[in-house]
């Protein structure tokens, strides 16, 4: 059970990294996520079926996610549409695009090689074989996390953080705040699409309904992670988001294990959400989040 919690938790952890940028850093409620997650999956599935090596499909998924974020950003910044609405517009439109990319609502990958089932993983020694999937996920997730950590430490990353915390700083530095926001949305949705692509490779099928509730899962992970570990100043918020995601998936698995009716799952999530938010309000507030 631990293995599948870690697998699922780390895959959705990449999604949580994306939401960390939009929700926590940019303070942008980005609903694009619900369709950029299946977008990454669709791109990855279709290219895999067409015969591309699964690992390369991830790059195209990331590219597609960038584009999705760019569209939301342009709608928000250039067309002056409210943040929530611009996400909803992209989400709605992408649904059709996802269907057309995939060609149909459900694309199975049982036939050929996937990221987790290919000559390379089959060559793993027997004692490692059960952990092959987790190891690959771990590598991808860590690369995503380290790249994001690095980016946030650069000047562009600093501007990104400033855009959410104190927009006037960005303007003072003679930088266009809108462009910074667009950049943030692009990176966030690239991560979300990557997460969708890895998920699709792991479950070996794309389904148009994959994205339903992706934003809530990501948000819950970020909030759980950053609130539980907020007093640990040495821990990066990207690490917190990843652990939050694993904890979220663990709570779902425990709920299933306890025999709780899956139809209550969303209600449990909502209550868990609320409890963590309320508890975190009773703690002394930190002025700045250590990013």
């Amino acid at each position: 059970m631990l293995l599948s919690i870690l697998e699922q938790g780390l895959i959705y952890g990449i999604l949580a990294l994306g939401l960390l940028i939009t929700y926590r850093i940019l303070d942008f409620p980005d609903l694009t996520v619900d369709s950029s997650f299946p977008l990454g999956a669709a791109v990855s599935a279709v290219l895999t079926v067409r015969g591309m090596a699964p690992v390369w499909t991830l790059f195209f998924a990331v590219l597609a996610g960038c584009l999705a974020g760019l569209i939301t950003g342009l709608i928000h910044v250039k067309c002056h549409v409210r943040d929530l609405l611009s996400g909803i517009i992209t989400m709605t439109g992408l649904y059709s695009i996802n269907l057309n990319i995939a060609g149909k609502a459900n694309v199975p990958l049982f036939g050929g090689d996937t990221l987790f089932k290919n000559p390379f993983t089959r060559a793993f020694p027997a004692f490692l074989a059960p952990y092959a999937t987790l190891l690959i996920i771990l590598v991808i997730t860590l690369i995503a996390k380290l790249l994001l950590d690095w980016f946030l430490s650069t000047k562009a990353g600093f501007l990104l953080r400033a855009a959410g915390d104190n927009p006037s700083v960005v303007t003072t530095l003679a930088q266009d705040q809108g462009r910074v926001k667009i950049l943030g949305l692009m990176i966030a949705n690239a991560l979300v699409a990557l997460s969708g692509a890895v998920m699709c490779q792991q479950q070996r099928y794309f389904d148009i309904s994959m994205g339903t509730g992706a934003m809530v899962i990501g948000l819950a992970s970020v909030i759980i992670g950053t609130n539980i570990f907020r007093s640990l100043r040495f821990m990066r918020s990207t690490t917190m988001a990843l652990i939050g995601s694993v904890l979220y998936k663990a709570s779902v698995a425990i709920a299933l294990q306890l025999g709780l009716d899956a139809s209550f799952m969303k209600l449990i999530t909502a209550v868990l959400f609320l409890i963590i938010l309320v508890i975190s309000q009773f703690r002394p507030k930190k002025v700045r989040l250590h990013v």
């Binding site: 959705y12 609502a105 070996r204 899956a262």
Partner: protein, 324 residues
């Protein structure tokens, strides 16, 4: 060290004994249903019935672990993982995404997956084009008896040439049924005219565009369309075009007739397959099955509304249903 070996040996012996004397064994079956849905619920009812007929009775020698993923593929995957970790004897997966998740999780662990209500197992790669299975996975398909339905429409409306079909573009089940209709319709002198929708809210507009072009419409097992059936029936009645159903529940609601499959029956057939697998047969060698006989349901009130009479030879085997 010797003691440990002895204990291990004894344990292995005991374990092998229990598998030899399977009579006294209690089987755990994980059931993963994709959504709350009348037809899918009926599948599970039928499945239990089918197993019981073969001597696998709930509470006696079978324990069911039932989970519903509420149309969430992420949860479907976690449910499948849970069953695999619990090392259940068999997984029963109801509807396509559940079946795919279950097969993905169970394939390497050799836990048999028996699916039902999968419209097109070949398209879902749960069965090969040559009818072989990709692993310990088999089951039953709820593909519509399209041929029988076309014969029915021809018999009830001898003059009709164009059949309208409303379908949701995001439902794979509908895609494959529609494709079958397109292929078979010319054999009965029909042309299929379809309209795709993306949500239930599109139905009124799509129907207004579709109805003037056709002589009647027929339903697939499209979830979105079926959920909005009252709207479909009302608009069709205004336009004077009869609606054919795809299962009994739709005829009850006011479709004039249907050559349909019965999901309890489908589940029962699935239960029989599961029983064979529990007795030791390999799921990999059992081809997936379609439901053998379709049943003809008619709604006399709706038929009268359109002035359609059912020919004698059909009436003999028709089951008349009315609104509950």
């Amino acid at each position: 060290m010797k003691k440990i070996f002895a204990a291990l040996l004894a344990l292995t012996l005991m374990l092998s004994m229990t598998s030899v004397f399977a009579e006294g064994k209690t089987y755990t079956i994980g059931v993963s249903q994709f959504a709350v849905h009348g037809s899918l619920d009926n599948c599970f009812e039928g499945f239990k019935l089918g197993l019981a007929e073969e001597g696998f009775v709930e509470g006696e020698n079978v324990v069911f672990d039932f989970e519903n993923s509420n149309a969430d593929t992420g949860i479907a995957a976690q449910i499948a993982d849970k069953f695999v970790n619990a090392n259940v004897d068999l997984i029963c997966a109801i509807a396509t995404p559940s079946a795919m998740s279950a097969f993905n999780a169970a394939q390497d662990r050799n836990i048999p997956v028996i699916y039902t209500a999968v419209s097109d197992p070949v398209a879902a790669q749960l069965a090969g084009t040559d009818g072989t299975n990709p692993g310990e996975v088999t089951g039953t398909s709820d593909a519509l008896p399209v041929e029988a339905q076309l014969r029915l429409i021809r018999a009830l409306q001898p003059e009709a040439t164009k059949i309208g079909i409303l379908h949701t573009t995001s439902e794979t089940n509908s895609d494959s049924s529609l494709e079958t209709y397109r292929q078979l319709a010319p054999n009965y002198g029909f042309e299929i005219i379809d309209k795709g929708i993306s949500t239930g809210a599109d139905i009124p507009l799509a129907l207004e565009a579709l109805l003037p072009l056709v002589d009647c419409t027929t339903n697939l097992t499209d979830n979105t369309v079926v959920q909005s059936l009252p709207v479909v029936l009302e608009l069709s009645a205004v336009a004077g075009k009869p609606v054919y159903g795809s299962e009994i529940e739709q005829v009850k609601l006011g479709c004039i007739a249907s050559e349909g499959i019965e999901y309890v029956e489908l589940g029962r057939q699935t239960g029989h397959i599961a029983a064979r697998v529990l007795r030791g047969e390999s799921a990999a060698t059992i081809p997936f099955e379609l439901i053998e006989n379709s049943l003809l349901y008619i709604n006399e009130e709706a038929l009268a509304q359109f002035g359609i009479t059912v020919p004698e030879e059909l009436l003999a085997r028709a089951i008349t249903v009315t609104a509950d």
